[in-house]
């Protein structure tokens, strides 16, 4: 790479060609004040704060936009520069309200700091200032004070360059210029608005959730990891007086860079919520009553001893990886391998073949492209979308097949929306076409009839041909299979189709599923047929290793996965179920199976933060701590363990899951005293080789192979096919208890295609009654092209749509609409 050498303030520095003077100065440790420039976005040159003097150049230059040239002589502190900075600041402050005492940015405001350091001290502007209405709520979480805005355009450019959602725009001209949401209201709220708050250099954009709750000097920051989804974004958690008041992004280039999504930014108030469980409860005479820890634990211990080994454990998302490990160890000491962290899925393949998880996220930075298979990236793993967006901007090819239009479709080269459950057909057709283009069609693939597959999937052949063409041009792209496919009617066939496609086109495979520590829990051993580290249960080396660490060998017989466990419970073969931080009563897709399982259980134990549906049905409820309240390690989708520190004390009376398990171990006569979380971690590291702090886990993916499976015959049935989509903003037990988030989620709206709307006589905004399975809800309708005709887009995660009570009779779930009000009361 060619370099240039220049002199800044009398010191020479050599930088790669193309570096700006601002960065060259930074390399020398020389600080140049900036407002508009942000190193995650290209320079703009709007604020003029970064002036420097360059010899042989007539005027002062903005160092953020000026490319360093060979032999340049730059001065950053000359009298002219100092004077110019003073003038710029005086100018910026002309209309600035200077209401620092009531401004939430006070104490951490670049405008304050720069004015203090470089400003004039007094203003010559005595005329009345320009006024705007103050404290405008732009969204349930965002407050805008236009008077304070210095028009640096960071926020608007974030929406253009980084997030791609164009959530904020500049309006009007000159003196009246201001920031606002775009004139055409967005279909849905931005998912990344918290980042604009973080990068706004003044108090113009502030958090409506954090508003006035603390000053920076009140806050005690502790490093945390967001557990709302599986990305595992690094955070700073600011606590004041035992209350978590704010969450900020912690710089971690490999994971979240400097960003968070709004669920991470604003999803913390649940931990401070007064409805947190504070005492154990036990069921007596059919009702749950308060109990002491002794009593509750004794009851659990006795039931476990009596029923062992016919006991099982579910959950792990909310646990730390250490706690998941302790849970697995305790149940294995009882002779049971009935362990599963994947409590919300009917599809529970063996993690030896199909372990949820992704390769290193950094692979996106170099991949030639990404193929999203039923993966609603921006809804499920929002910050991963920011990384993908960066890759797409660099020229990577984005492809997708999904049963609904993805929010980010506009950025992808080719996105195919198919009928629900049709992804395997589309993928087989693509595989066949790709193989044809490459000139050799493997024998098995010849069975695939492209036209018939397209017809089944409801997709025009041209779309699939174009998809194949793009895929061939892109090369070995990264396949990311998401939740829409995992939850689809034929996940096995979809995975086989992905494998087939990989076999002809090449490319890595990511299986994106699971929140919080779900991937870590499986890695720590919460799976029926693998030991810690995804080692097969019968592996003699691993068994020996565990025997030495534990003093006993894990039981021989493979355990049951979630669905099988529930079947066994329903049949009375599984007596005790221990649910740690999961809500299968609400999240397990087959509610009637859950109900039968619950009825068949002798004892259901739940450790929880709130009265979830599962907790209400339990026999013993143990109050647990949230991820803000205990130390430990959390593993994200990459299998990357990251440490968290407690930022507040939990409610008195609640205990960490790890402590509960240790106490239970003592009562069961299997005491293990670890002394500290680190000790558990060390043992886990030895039990599960490959798990290293801050390193992605080396997942072994099955080799691609052509595996063509026949499609099931289509069923002719009445009603619209339900496409269950899980939006980022839901009304779950936790997010419903966070200020701002329920309002972001709003009321659920179902989407129907214009054709169906016309047939039903519906207009956008109409009110309908939707019957799905045994449930019925009154909701509004959006007429949309997000799904194909004959489909109904239903948001899950809202109390109106309890997925657990949608018993699927056939392959596909059907919904029936009854029109209550064909025209929307207020047009949107």
């Amino acid at each position: 790479m060619s370099t240039v050498t220049l002199t800044i303030d009398g010191r020479t520095v050599t930088v790669p060609k193309g570096t700006t003077v601002y960065h060259a100065a930074r390399q020398l440790g020389i600080e140049i004040p900036v407002f508009c420039y942000h190193d995650r976005m290209p320079p703009l040159g709007a604020c003029r704060m970064c002036f420097v003097q360059v010899e042989k150049m007539p005027r002062l230059q903005t160092s953020c936009t000026l490319e360093a040239q060979e032999g340049m002589v730059v001065w950053t502190e000359s009298a002219e520069v100092v004077e110019a900075r003073r003038a710029i600041l005086e100018f910026l402050l002309i209309n600035h309200p200077l209401d620092c005492p009531i401004c939430d940015k006070g104490g951490e405001c670049p405008l304050q700091d720069n004015t203090f350091k470089y400003g004039p001290g007094a203003s010559r502007f005595v005329e009345p200032k320009r006024h705007f209405p103050k404290a405008i709520r732009l969204s349930p979480v965002l407050t805008l004070d236009r008077e304070r805005c210095i028009l640096c355009w960071r926020c608007t450019r974030f929406g253009e360059v980084v997030a791609g959602d164009h959530a904020l725009k500049g309006h009007d001209r000159g003196y009246r210029t201001h920031i606002d949401t775009p004139p055409v209201t967005l279909e849905r709220p931005s998912k990344f608005i918290g980042n604009t708050i973080a990068i706004c250099p003044v108090g113009a954009l502030t958090s409506a959730v954090y508003r006035f709750r603390a000053r920076p000097w009140d806050n005690r920051p502790t490093p945390g990891v967001c557990t709302h989804c599986g990305v595992g974004c690094a955070t700073w958690v600011d606590a004041r007086g035992g209350e978590v008041v704010r969450v900020r992004a912690r710089e971690k280039p490999e994971v979240n860079d400097i960003w968070l999504c709004d669920l991470g930014f604003f999803g913390y108030d649940y931990t401070n919520h007064p409805e947190r469980l504070k005492v154990p409860y036990v069921r007596e005479g059919g009702v749950l009553r308060e109990a002491t820890w002794d009593e509750a634990l004794e009851r659990v211990a006795r039931a476990l001893v009596r029923a062992a080994p016919r006991v099982g454990a579910l959950g792990g998302e909310r646990l730390t990886v250490e706690e998941a490990y302790l849970l697995g160890r305790l149940f294995r000491s009882l002779g049971s391998n009935h362990l599963d962290a994947r409590a919300d899925s009917r599809f529970a393949p063996s993690p030896r073949d199909w372990a949820w998880g992704a390769g290193p996220f950094e692979a996106l930075d170099t991949a030639p492209g990404v193929f999203l298979v039923g993966c609603d990236l921006s809804e499920d793993y929002p910050v991963l979308w920011l990384r993908l967006k960066r890759a797409l901007d660099r020229g990577a090819v984005g492809l997708a097949v999904a049963p609904k239009r993805l929010e980010v479709d506009g950025y992808l080269r080719c996105a195919v929306v198919h009928g629900y459950g049709g992804e395997a057909d589309v993928l087989y057709a693509v595989a066949r076409l790709v193989a044809e283009r490459k000139g050799s069609v493997p024998g098995l693939l010849r069975e695939v009839d492209v036209d018939a597959s397209c017809r089944r999937a409801g997709v025009p052949r041209e779309a699939v041909e174009y998809l194949a063409q793009c895929l061939v041009a892109a090369g070995p792209v990264l396949f990311a299979v998401g939740r829409l496919s995992w939850d689809g009617p034929e996940p096995e066939r979809t995975l086989a189709a992905v494998q087939t496609l990989r076999a002809v086109s090449g490319g890595d495979l990511w299986l994106l599923r699971g929140k919080g520590n779900a991937v870590g829990a499986v890695l720590a051993g919460l799976a029926p047929d693998t030991l810690p580290g995804l080692v097969p249960l019968e592996d003699p080396g691993a068994r020996e290793r565990l025997r030495r660490l534990w003093g006993f060998e894990p039981p021989q017989a493979p355990g049951l996965g979630t669905p099988a466990m529930l079947e066994a419970a329903a049949a009375g073969e599984l007596r005790v179920l221990y649910v740690a931080g999961a809500d299968p009563a609400r999240d397990f897709p087959d509610g009637s199976l859950w109900q039968r399982a619950r009825a068949g259980l002798e004892l259901l134990v739940v450790t929880e933060l709130f009265w979830t549906e599962t907790a209400r049905q339990a026999d013993v409820v143990l109050p647990a701590l949230s991820s803000f309240e205990r130390p430990g390690t959390v593993v994200n989708l990459e299998g990357r363990p990251q440490r968290i520190a407690p930022s507040r004390m939990g409610p008195p009376g609640a205990r960490a899951d790890g402590d509960i398990l240790q106490l239970l171990g003592e009562r069961l006569g299997r005491p293990v005293d670890y002394g500290s979380v680190e000790a558990v971690w060390e043992e886990l590291r030895r039990a599960a080789p490959g798990l290293e702090l801050d390193r992605p886990y080396p997942f072994n993916r099955p080799q691609p192979e052509v595996d063509v499976r026949p499609a099931r015959p289509l069923e002719a049935e009445e009603g619209l096919v339900v496409v269950p989509a899980s939006p980022l903003f839901r009304k779950g037990e936790m997010s419903a208890r966070c200020r701002g988030l329920p309002d972001l989620a709003g009321s659920p709206v179902v989407g129907v295609h214009a054709q169906d709307a016309a047939a039903l006589g519906l207009m956008d905004g109409a009110e309908v009654e939707v019957d799905v399975g045994a449930t019925s809800a009154r909701v509004r309708v959006a007429v949309t092209d997000a799904v194909l005709p004959g489909h109904l887009l239903v948001p899950v995660g809202f109390p109106e749509f309890p997925r657990a009570r949608w018993a699927a009779s056939g392959r596909l779930l059907r919904a029936h609409l009854r029109v209550l009000e064909p025209v929307g009361r207020e047009s949107r």
Binding site: D99, C100, G106, G107, A135, R211, F212, R215
Partner: protein, 167 residues
């Protein structure tokens, strides 16, 4: 000079040091015939200097709104970390101060305060003033954590600050 002291002989020392003692005694003697400065507190009230700093008041504007906007500048400037402020937002039907923000909770730990007056100096609205009351004794420590209701002046101007003054 030091050398000179060390080199003095016995008689010279008697004269020089004796003179110093007599000088000191003369001051004592003079004060023996002056009236005493001791005040028979509490029967007698002490005279308090004009710029004495005593217990704090949170002052009000003439219309009764609070001056304090809960900015917490007094909190950060206080060298003994005696102040706790928790801010909240004014609403149209619950307007406590001018502007958007007010102090929902305001506490000063009088046991910690060293009456330096920094808080008064830092306050951008002139809300917090140190008054002249120094009689801050109590039987319990908790009683010396002054709450907002104790700190607020009972009526605008009660603390002596002109309620019509802007800042």
């Amino acid at each position: 000079m030091g050398g000179a002291v060390r080199n003095r002989n016995g008689w010279q020392r008697v004269v020089v040091e004796g003179a110093a003692i007599l000088k000191g005694m003369a001051v004592t003697l003079r004060h023996l015939f002056r009236p005493p400065v001791t005040v028979q507190y509490p029967e007698e009230r002490p005279r308090i200097a004009g710029r004495f700093k005593g217990r704090h008041w949170l002052t009000l504007y003439a219309d009764g709104t609070e001056r304090c906007v809960g900015c917490e500048l007094c909190v950060i400037v206080c060298p003994s970390q005696a102040i706790y402020v928790k801010a909240a937002e004014n609403t149209p039907d619950h307007r406590v101060s001018r502007g958007e923000r007010y102090a929902e909770d305001f506490q000063i730990n009088m046991l910690r305060c060293i009456f330096c007056g920094f808080c008064e100096e830092a306050c951008p609205t002139g809300a917090i003033v140190l008054g002249r009351d120094f009689e801050l004794a109590d039987y319990r420590r908790e009683a010396l954590i002054y709450t907002k209701s104790m700190l607020q002046e009972p009526y605008p101007g009660a603390s002596g600050r002109d309620p019509n003054r802007e800042v």
